[in-house]
Symmetry: C2
Subunit: 121 residues, 2 copies
């Protein structure tokens, strides 16, 4: 199994594990897609760019507000959550979840997936 196959397997696992996870993607810090499990109508490039921007602003906010190195950024909108976390080697794991999602479970699953990603990269 190639590295990309392994990464895709981890992303799919994140989505099959919690039905509230609608999409997930692994993105480089400079905003390029590495692997993704996104719905067809979603534009890869836009998601990748937005995730990297969110991460760099999160890093600046964490530093300015004396919170240290950024580890996770969460945006809750009226239709659900966008969660981004650092997954090692300069990569970002993004998950989009519905508003019914249990946030504690989502963080748990994402941290596990990030650990698995670190082993593959």
């Amino acid at each position: 199994m190639s590295r990309v196959d392994n990464l895709n397997r981890i992303l799919r696992g994140l989505q099959t594990g919690s039905p509230d996870v609608e999409a997930s993607a692994l993105i480089s810090e400079d905003g390029l897609m590495i692997a993704s499990a996104l719905p067809q109508h979603v534009d890869d490039t836009r998601v990748a760019g937005m995730t990297a921007t969110l991460s760099s602003l999160g890093a600046r906010a964490a530093s300015e507000l004396e919170r240290g190195t950024v580890q996770e950024v969460l945006v809750r909108g009226e239709h659900g959550y966008a969660v981004m976390l650092a997954s090692g080697s300069g990569t970002l794991l993004l998950a989009l979840a519905s508003k019914q999602a249990k946030l504690g479970l989502l963080f748990l699953d994402m941290r596990r997936a990030a650990d698995d990603i670190r082993k593959v990269l």
Copy 2:
């Protein structure tokens, strides 16, 4: 009691209610401080500007990632949390909490404070 006194009381209440909340502030969407309970060494202007930037990027991310109108943005750094939520009339409530903070309790207290702020504004 003036409106500003009331707002300061709500912010102080947020901090006395949970010892893990280190600072809180109420900021206008355009990045101006309305009321604050920040430690002395923290620069008001910088915090206000950073909160407004975080909110506007959160709004863009929520919209691009199809999450609807932004309601909350959370940044977790290695030293703790920065949480921002919309508190009505174009204002943003920011809380800075230590890494020991219980996130569920923090959101609960902040949502209550935001409801109180809405009544005052």
